[in-house]
């Protein structure tokens, strides 16, 4: 073997550099988070998952030898089907700034930072589990994602799900049901396992059991004064991306118990005087916790969110009725699309009502609308939501940003001013 062959290529060197940078980002982030002594103890479990993002992330996704891993993008991939086939779903939506540079080779400058980040991770060995997927399921929810599917096709098995944009029609529902059936077939092919009535029912029950804790969690999160910070809540939901559903649910149950005890004992993470804020808009994925870190460092507290990476992800539930395979397939298909408040759909009805309901239930004082530069669906709805909040008399701050740390200071100033406004309003009342 010649000496040059052993020398790492330019790409390999770049990958190594990115890995090192990412590890550093993760360490720094947790240094900051660990300073907070008031966090619930049960958060340690979820932290450990993210701490594994260092050094190539070999331990982020832990599956038994031989179990198939199916990568998913967006909330539209019916995970019950993956579980029913004995495979492990991993949500691949990414928040790593470090890999965006690589992604830019494939995408225009104005592309959303999330797809850039994802393209980087998909095309370069930075995080181990992106390379481990036996199938990647990609709903064409926005055009960036749809085209990403095509770009990935030459590298790995990809299955595109076509989500209908108009939910209220019979034909789009039938179409979507067929799409879900196609996905079922793709999962069966990848895993070599047939999904039966029994396995599917088992999978539905497994997810529902986790949802018992999810709903409990969101209820507890609303308490005044807040027993847990919003960034920790985001982390809990984000950890589900990678973890085994039952293991995760058990950890969440422990956290819930702790929160219950905290509420009973009056232990809190933010005093009752903290401005209660709701986050909505483009999703935030680890380690892009820039905005929530700033908000809560400045004394505000995030008491609810409407993110597809958090509260929207696991709230809606499959309703089994007659228990035949077809009945379950229909129930699953509808659960993933009909109640979803994603801006990809033709109307904003679900989103409006969801926001107003969250604001009411969690006694929210102000809304922060987060837009990732290039994330068109959320950008397009901004004005409508602004109008809605105006009509309801809820102050709203729009933040347009990306994954780079450059604008932190500027964001800090704006968010501080916003929180000052909220406090001022409270004084007046």
């Amino acid at each position: 073997m010649k000496a040059e062959d052993k020398k790492p290529s330019r790409r390999e060197r770049l990958a190594k550099k990115i890995k090192t940078n990412l590890s550093m980002t993760v360490r720094e982030l947790f240094e900051q988070i660990d300073e907070d002594r008031s966090r619930p103890k049960a958060m340690a479990y979820f932290d450990s998952i993210f701490k594994n993002f260092t050094g190539g992330g070999e331990n982020v996704v832990q599956v038994p030898e031989g179990q198939k891993v199916i990568g998913t993008y967006c909330v539209f991939v019916p995970e019950e089907l993956v579980y029913a086939a004995g495979a492990h779903p991993v949500r691949l939506c990414a928040g790593t700034y470090e890999s965006s540079e690589v992604g830019e080779e494939y995408l225009p400058d104005v592309a959303c930072p999330m797809v850039k980040s994802e393209m980087g991770l998909e095309t370069m060995p930075i995080l181990d589990f992106y390379q481990k997927c036996d199938l990647v399921a990609l709903p064409g929810s926005c055009h960036w994602k749809l085209k990403m599917a095509e770009m990935l096709e030459e590298r790995k098995p990809v299955h595109v799900l076509d989500v209908p944009r108009i939910k209220e029609r019979e034909n789009s529902r039938q179409y979507w049901l067929e799409e879900v059936k196609n996905f079922k077939a793709a999962v069966e092919k990848t895993t070599g396992t047939r999904i039966t009535r029994k396995t599917l029912k088992g999978a539905i029950r497994t997810v529902q059991a986790a949802q018992v804790e999810v709903h409990r969690f969101f209820e507890l999160r609303k308490a005044i004064p807040a027993p847990i910070l919003g960034r920790d809540a985001l982390a809990v939901m984000n950890a589900y991306f990678y973890d085994d559903v039952s293991r995760w649910a058990a950890a969440l149950a422990e956290l819930n118990d702790e929160l219950e005890q905290r509420i009973a004992e009056g232990v809190h993470v933010a005093p009752a005087s903290s401005a209660r804020i709701l986050l909505t808009g483009s999703p935030m994925v680890f380690p892009n916790w820039k905005v929530p870190m700033i908000i809560e460092d400045l004394g505000g507290v995030l008491v609810a969110d409407e993110f597809c990476t958090s509260q929207r992800y696991l709230s809606d539930m499959v309703a089994m009725d007659e228990g035949t395979l077809n009945d379950m397939m229909m129930a699953i298909a509808e659960r993933y699309v009909l109640p979803c408040s994603c801006p990809m759909f033709s109307n904003t009805l679900e989103r409006r009502d969801k926001l107003l309901q969250l604001i009411e239930e969690a006694q929210v004082e102000g809304v922060i609308y987060h837009i990732l530069k290039g994330c068109h669906p959320y950008d397009i709805e901004l004005k409508m939501m602004e109008k809605l909040m105006q009509d309801k008399g809820i102050p709203m701050l729009k933040i347009e940003t990306d994954y780079s740390p450059q604008d932190v200071e500027q964001l800090r100033t704006r968010i501080e001013a916003f929180q000052e406004t909220l406090r001022g309003r409270r004084r007046v009342q």
């Binding site: 939910k167 209220e168 019979e170 009535r197 029950r205 529902q208 059991a209 949802q211 018992v212 709903h215 809606d316 539930m317 309703a319 089994m320 009725d321 007659e322 228990g323 035949t324 077809n326 009945d327 229909m330 129930a331 509808e334 659960r335 009909l338 109640p339 408040s341 009805l349 679900e350 009502d353 969801k354 107003l356 309901q357």
Partner: protein, 321 residues
């Protein structure tokens, strides 16, 4: 307690009460808006439709006098019954509903898939029950007023074709109504329809839920009182995510229950107040059944998960043993 189980018990109790009640001197009258058939000997209360048709087969001027008062009185009782529990007559009492629900349960036990109407078809079928109701009123009136072509054999034309007539007396060991009447053409046609409908009752349940109810003229009568009934089904549109669970679970395939965001009272034309939609609704307080405005059954995420996991618990217990 699981509401659907409660409903089944209620249906059973009323089935026994109405079919055998006469044996224990129970008599709830013959003005009931439900298919407890008057042809059942010694019943404990029976369907008002037969008397109604007889009363109608009179010359029109008679209705200005005593006959009219008799008719109004009788309809008043029906209205009273209907206002008090609204469509719960169909969901909780009607023996015909019970039979369809039992057969559906049987179908579920053997995991046979059901089919659904297309949305447009479903809408179109809604009018059938009104056509039947109109005929049920017009034919007896026609007979009473000597409209040519209508024979006396048709007096209670709906009863001739009603599947309850041949079927329900069977539970009392009375087979006399289970026959086809060859004595006249209209008799032959109508009694044949009745027997076919009995067959349909048993077969359709393996294809669709509450198939016969979608044509039932009794439902048309009851739905006159939809919005004034003491028992109501209410929705809080803002809490609803339009997830579609309710309309999927609805045996009558009602779409409004999912689609409606602004109306509060959602007892719709075809609703039978079975409350399966509330069972299936995962959103806190999105749906609620009320009696005289007081909540009696409310949708909640917690309740939803409990109901969904009933057999999960059972499985666990099995494994432990």
């Amino acid at each position: 307690m699981n509401v659907q189980r409660l409903r089944l018990i209620s249906q059973f109790v009323f089935f026994v009460l109405l079919t055998y009640g006469g044996l224990f001197a129970i008599d709830l009258g013959s003005r009931m808006p439900t298919f407890s058939c008057a042809f059942v000997p010694d019943n404990g209360g029976s369907c008002f439709l037969i008397g109604f048709q007889h009363m109608l087969s009179r010359p029109l001027p008679e209705f200005l006098g005593e006959q009219g008062i008799r008719l109004l009185k009788s309809l008043g009782i029906v209205a009273l019954w209907a206002v008090v529990i609204n469509k719960a007559w169909c969901g909780w009492i009607c023996p015909f509903g019970l039979m369809q629900d039992l057969l559906t349960r049987l179908r579920n036990l053997v995991f046979i898939d059901m089919s659904r109407f297309g949305w447009v078809t479903r809408k179109r079928y809604k009018s059938v029950k009104y056509i039947l109701l109109a005929l049920l009123i017009l034919i007896p009136l026609g007979i009473g007023n000597g409209v040519p072509g209508l024979s006396r054999d048709w007096t209670a034309p709906f009863c001739q074709m009603c599947p309850a007539r041949p079927l329900m007396p069977l539970f009392r060991g009375d087979f006399s109504e289970f026959h086809i009447d060859f004595s006249s053409w209209p008799g032959l046609a109508l009694t044949t329809i009745a027997v076919i409908l009995v067959g349909l009752l048993f077969t359709s349940a393996f294809v669709k839920r509450r198939f016969l109810c979608s044509y039932c003229p009794m439902l048309a009568v009851l739905s006159l009182f939809d919005k004034v009934g003491f028992l109501s089904l209410n929705k809080d549109g803002q809490k609803c995510t339009r997830c579609g669970n309710c309309s999927r679970a609805c045996p009558m395939e009602i779409r409004e229950i999912e689609e409606e965001k602004t109306l509060s009272n959602l007892v719709t034309q075809d609703c039978i107040l079975c409350l399966k939609c509330i069972d299936a609704c995962p959103e806190n307080q999105a749906l609620e059944a009320r009696f005289l405005g007081m909540p009696i059954y409310t949708a909640s995420a917690e309740g939803f998960l409990k109901r969904q996991n009933v057999d999960l618990l059972r499985l666990k217990r099995k494994k432990k043993r």
